[in-house]
Symmetry: C2
Subunit: 239 residues, 2 copies
């Protein structure tokens, strides 16, 4: 049997677009001080520098925006503008969970024949809230929220559930977090790009001929791939 | 066999004292504007209001301090002061994990005969980092980081691991999060107070005669309690 791991943000529902819209508001806020390019670059640098302290998620993003606003204005930014940034964060945290096209049908269909796991990283509180609000929670046998989606995190998850890597298909939009680590363990990986990728998640794709790697245009192509892979897996069982 | 659940913050290591020290700095920062009592009260109100958006943890605390500073000064707080609050948050996130007296010996001793679980709430990223830095991680068969420590969260954990409530002892410093929910499920609970309790975690204790409730003065009294309870559990096995 094939176990299917699904990424959440930008695979099941829109997420990066919410950051993008917020960053656009942030650019407008600081437009009197700097160019959009310079604001983007400095914000990204601040986010990366803070990643080891804050981890992923909206609260860390908000703190990094505030820090960037102070730095970029050399302290001239006003409390009113900082207050606006706090407002952006609350808006993001309360934003409705907006499923990508076809997700509900595909998840429902796959769940009837396969064990589905939702595997996501980021802020526990925010991610659990989104899973609950998505209405998809019941289709997943397991929800795993991890600190970082690296080979060691996937290895731990597969071992805990007694899943052989060659019977595991990970589906997601991030080369860095969903695809490459799973391939490195000998698993299967289906890449479905989202129209915006956070710079930090970008990575060179594997060679198109890499065993176990599949590139789909949209999630509605997933059931057909799963059907083919399931046939191969059942012909080729591991002890 | 008895499974022992241990809370982390203020049960295994100092935590609330770190918030307290930070709040003292925050009071000093806003001392030109308001009295310490009023600052404390408004910060607490802001934290509670934000809890549903931010959850528990340092990042949410930092955002609430910033919001309170803006509100309390009616926007007169400067970017430099906001920058100081950001600095407080980073200092907290990097603070060494300071074990409470006796913790290392007790945890080591209990782990040799019992299954230990660390059960904590709050920010996944920060809590995992503290478990790793504490050096205690290997003594725990499981680490559970949950959104809220309520009866439903404990029920889920016990069911997942096939533990009967009457074979489960929870140990912690919060009546609200460690003691009352576990007693409500028919489990055992040992309360070990910490010298500071966040107002939000305070709750009336159960009657001293409540079955399964124990009040210890310090963690070094835990092994003796566990020994007594283990004897009772093994005389009284559940099917």
């Amino acid at each position: 049997m094939l176990t299917i791991g699904l990424d959440a943000d930008d695979t099941l529902w829109h997420n990066e677009s919410l950051y993008w819209l917020t960053q656009e508001k942030f650019r407008q806020l600081l437009a009197p001080y700097h160019s959009a390019e310079w604001i983007d670059q400095r914000l990204y640098e601040t986010e990366l520098r803070n990643l080891e302290h804050f981890g992923y998620g909206i609260k860390g993003f908000a703190l990094s925006m505030i820090e960037t606003a102070i730095d970029l204005t050399e302290g001239r930014v006003g409390a009113g503008e900082i207050g606006e940034i706090l407002g952006y964060a609350k808006t993001m945290l309360q934003a409705p969970v907006d499923l990508l096209p076809g997700v509900e049908e595909v998840v429902q269909q796959l769940a009837s024949d396969h064990q589905l796991m939702l595997i996501t990283k980021g802020d526990l509180f925010d991610q659990e809230s989104k899973v609950a609000r998505s209405g998809l929670g019941d289709y997943f046998a397991k929800v795993e929220i991890v600190r970082e989606k690296d080979p060691s995190a996937y290895r731990t998850i597969l071992q805990r559930h007694g899943i052989a890597p060659q019977h595991f298909l990970m589906v997601g939009n991030s080369m860095r977090s969903d695809i490459l680590p799973v391939l490195s363990l000998g698993g299967l990986a289906a890449y479905i790009p989202y129209h915006i990728t956070w710079q930090h998640e970008a990575a060179a794709p594997p060679e198109p001929t890499t065993a176990g790697f599949f590139h789909l245009d949209a999630i509605d192509q997933l059931p057909a791939l799963v059907q083919v892979l399931s046939g191969q897996v059942s012909q080729n069982p591991t002890p």
